[in-house]
């Protein structure tokens, strides 16, 4: 064994994705490493130059990644950071430049050699895809297409075996195209495999028929071999979802053939389509929602919620997109809540005296709560005459009490701060809510601002939707007549500065129970939540509560800041995922993170998130003219 390669091995093995490779694999990569020495200011690669067959790892020093056109520093890579991953994705030209900002030593790793190993290593490929996306997150010169491709690859990293269709429809090579198409139609499938001695030699999909046949280029009486794509890509029966995804992506195909030994020289046993993979993911969630509808007791709902928790764990593990997970989990939570309300109304001696709506507030209202936490909710009922007010209020208070108890049984514990509809303060008529909002908006002291941040993010769950729309209108009316409120809300959004002082030092809690831990909620997520709320309210939009959706909407409304908003949205997704992972691992809220437990990959990811926080806060400071307030 070569001593130099071994020394490089010792260095690289500390860092992902190299740490995810076997010793033999990594050693053979190290044997091919090139060592670059760069003086401060030297370029490793420059925008527009064609991509080399290598990517880079910083050994010593620091490399800045620059956007040449504007000469802006986009990222700073230090020891163990990887960059130049474009080489793994696409063989075109560099979109950014890499320049030494200190004297540096950089290792370059052969990407073709590396690719060989990661294709069969979902963990490593998933890490790389994430890095690629995070590395380039600040540069939307990146084509959307790559981004979609990479997130897709990242999303489906699933170690479990993929369920493929057994007994695939197939035909012999002498079959006419017409006969094959009939066979496909008869069996209602979108593809047919052409076999010879039961071994797959080619495939025809709907797309082939559309492109090659319907255009009239080839006669339908020709043999299938005229139009089939050949050879087919084959895999053994134990193919995992991630392997399938990577293969489809790599070969730009939508179907894989499954054979006995995984080669084209053995018997065809199945076919796996892109569609199959999507189905694998969605089945379970919809089944749960159906069960909720059939449930008759809160105890049974509790059991379903537990199962939703397992589903969540699996989704997180499989790196399913966080927006998808939040939608699923929120849908389950909402249907459980609806069911609880439904059960509670049945228990009441009479029907509700007037219409009402049940609201989720805070993080639940924003649909950003994935872990089982305490409940935060409120109720609004239609305005009634003064004489009926007291009995109406009493009715809804006791209904709320039943609902809160039911939710508690399901696993959403009572809110310790009593932010629940059974609290007379949060069970109000439309006009009472209006007055309350107006009071908060006109005297935005610390307490009232805090209440605004919780109650403004209300989300309709059950009941009369019109009441909720009325509440939104009332908020905007108040804000319009008291515009300085937004400045206060802006100040509030800036109270937690980005948690990273430059790019190595984290700010941790200085005292208390969580001393030396990092509060991911207060220091990373809330600043983004607050920023999104402020900006979307300033646009007079109430329809969206979810922070990711808000940023997406903002990106639409302000194309000039699209990049930043998309960065924020990505950052928030990563933080939400990260917090959920932490919470699932430690069986807590995931809020406080021990920095020592963070892997290099996680640090890298967090670091990128904070950059987005910093930038959005700068935008708010300028836009709401806050510098003289601070």
């Amino acid at each position: 064994m070569n001593t130099i390669a071994e020394r490089i091995y010792d260095f690289l093995k500390q860092y992902p994705p190299f740490s995810m490779l076997s010793r033999e694999q990594l050693l053979s990569i190290c044997e091919a490493v090139d060592v670059h020495y760069l003086e401060k200011g030297n370029y490793l690669f420059e925008t527009g130059k064609s991509v080399k067959d290598e990517f880079y790892v910083v050994k010593d020093g620091a490399i800045g990644i620059f956007r040449t056109e504007t000469n802006t520093l986009i990222d700073e890579c230090d020891e163990g950071d990887i960059f130049g991953l474009r080489a793994l994705m696409r063989k075109d030209s560099y979109k950014l430049s890499a320049k030494a900002i200190e004297e540096s030593i950089v290792y370059s790793v052969s990407s073709s050699l590396f690719e060989k190993y990661i294709t069969t290593n979902p963990e490593a490929s998933s890490f790389l895809m994430t890095s690629f996306v995070t590395n380039t997150r600040s540069s939307y010169i990146e084509s959307k297409e790559i981004k979609q491709k990479t997130t897709k690859l990242h999303d489906f990293s699933d170690e479990q075996s993929a369920d493929y269709s057994k007994n695939p429809i197939h035909c012999e090579a002498y079959t006419s195209i017409k006969a094959a198409a009939k066979l496909m139609t008869k069996n209602q499938v979108g593809s047919i495999i052409i076999t010879e001695d039961n071994k797959p030699i080619g495939i025809i999909t709907d797309k082939d028929l559309r492109i090659k046949i319907a255009t009239g280029n080839i006669s339908i009486n020709e043999n299938v071999t005229k139009v089939m794509s050949s050879p087919v890509i084959t895999f053994p029966e134990n193919i995992t979802v991630s392997e399938a995804q990577i293969a489809m992506l790599k070969h730009k195909i939508t179907h894989l053939c499954i054979t006995k030994d995984g080669t084209t020289n053995s018997e065809l046993t199945g076919i796996l389509s892109e569609h199959d993979i999507i189905v694998i993911r969605e089945n379970n969630a919809s089944a749960l929602i159906k069960e909720v509808k059939r449930a008759k007791t809160p105890e049974y709902l509790h059991q379903i919620r537990q199962r939703a928790q397992y589903l969540l764990e699996r989704y997180i593990e499989q790196k399913i997109p966080i927006t998808f997970i939040t939608k699923i989990i929120s849908a389950i939570n909402d249907s459980i809540t609806e069911k609880i309300i439904d059960l509670a109304i049945r228990e009441m001696p009479t029907l509700p005296p007037t219409t009402f709506a049940w609201l989720a507030i805070g993080s639940q209202g924003r649909q950003e709560q994935l872990l089982l936490t305490d409940q935060d909710n409120a109720l609004v009922f239609d305005n009634v005459s003064e004489t009926q007010y007291e009995t109406t209020k009493q009715y809804f208070l006791s209904l709320s009490k039943k609902i809160n108890e039911g939710l508690n049984t399901v696993g959403f514990e009572f809110c310790p701060a009593d932010m629940m509809a059974s609290n007379p303060k949060w069970c109000l008529s439309v006009s009472e809510w209006k007055n309350q909002f107006e009071r908060w908006i006109k005297s935005p002291d610390q307490d009232n601002l805090m209440l605004c941040t919780i109650f403004f993010d209300f989300e309709y769950v059950f009941g009369n939707r019109d009441l909720v729309s009325k509440m939104s209108e009332d908020i905007f009316e108040s804000i319009d007549s008291y515009e300085i409120f937004l400045n206060y809300l802006g100040l509030n959004a800036l109270k937690n500065p980005p948690p990273i002082s430059f790019f190595r030092q984290f700010l941790v809690e200085q005292s208390g129970e969580h001393k030396d831990q990092f509060d991911i909620k207060a220091r990373a997520m809330m600043p983004l939540v607050d920023a999104a709320r402020l900006l979307i309210l300033s646009k007079n939009i109430k329809a969206h509560n979810n922070t990711i959706v808000r940023f997406t909407k903002l990106a639409e409304l302000e194309p000039q800041n699209k990049e930043l908003y998309e960065d924020c949205s990505e950052a928030f997704k990563n933080l939400l995922r990260f917090r959920t992972e932490q919470g699932l691992t430690n069986n807590d809220s995931g809020r406080f993170i021990d920095l020592k437990s963070l892997s290099k990959a996680n640090r890298l990811e967090l670091k990128r998130c904070f950059k987005a926080v910093k930038e959005i806060q700068e935008l708010i400071q300028v836009r709401f003219n806050l510098s003289h307030f601070l």
Binding site: N2, T3, E31
Partner: protein, 221 residues
């Protein structure tokens, strides 16, 4: 037929010699450098023997780990007192080859590259002595010495000229892993070399002629 070539030279030497038919390139960007180091039983070229050779290639200012060579030699001579420097035991775990095989492989690897070493004259002499034992002429390669290249930088303001590899790697902040293994020292020397070249390049455009000096040829004589 070249009248000055002894026809009795073995095939490997003739192959090696042929690489020198063309004129030496002087543009640093097109030269393959091979940085090398030897570990020996001692410092007396007339008595001591090579225990190991390590090399690493440099091309276009990039160190190529893929272009490296490492071997350990079987030698009858063994000196207990130098084991503490190089750590090579008489038995040892490394696969050992005889001196002739090592020389054949070394020549095959270096071809007509420009050799680089720290205190190059010692290592070159050790190799030449081994060649002599095989009744062969001396190395034909141009040899550069990082010690002399450093002196050209004028970075040191004192009159001292004889800097050790340890002193220079400390000055240039090169981590001293695997010091006193042939490959380890070759790698450190390689890093030192690219740093020195990079420094000299800042002053002016340089070619091979600017970094080699008659002084460095002493080892060949």
């Amino acid at each position: 037929m070249n009248w000055f070539t002894k026809t009795s030279y073995p095939e490997f030497w003739n192959t090696y010699s042929k690489h020198f038919k063309n004129k030496q390139e002087t543009d640093l960007g097109s030269i393959r450098f091979v940085v090398f180091d030897t570990e020996t039983t001692g410092l007396n070229p007339n008595q001591d023997r090579i225990l190991s050779i390590g090399t690493v290639g440099i091309f276009q200012n990039t160190i190529k780990v893929s272009d490296s060579f490492e071997c350990y030699l079987k030698q009858d001579l063994f000196k207990a007192e130098t084991v503490k420097i190089h750590g090579l035991l008489k038995g040892g775990k490394n696969i050992k080859i005889d001196e002739k095989t090592a020389i054949i492989q070394f020549l095959e690897h270096i071809k007509n590259s420009v050799l680089v070493a720290h205190n190059a004259s010692f290592d070159v002499t050790m190799i030449n002595k081994a060649l002599k034992r095989l009744e062969l002429p001396k190395l034909k390669n141009i040899v550069l010495d990082t010690k002399n290249i450093f002196n050209k930088t004028n970075l040191d303001k004192t009159t001292k000229t004889n800097f050790s590899l340890d002193e220079l790697s400390e000055r240039f902040k090169i981590p001293q892993h695997d010091r006193h293994t042939a490959s380890g020292d070759a790698f450190i020397t390689a890093l030192l070399f690219v740093k020195l070249i990079s420094h000299l390049k800042k002053e002016k455009k340089i070619t091979l002629n600017d970094i080699k000096s008659p002084k460095e040829r002493i080892g060949l004589l």
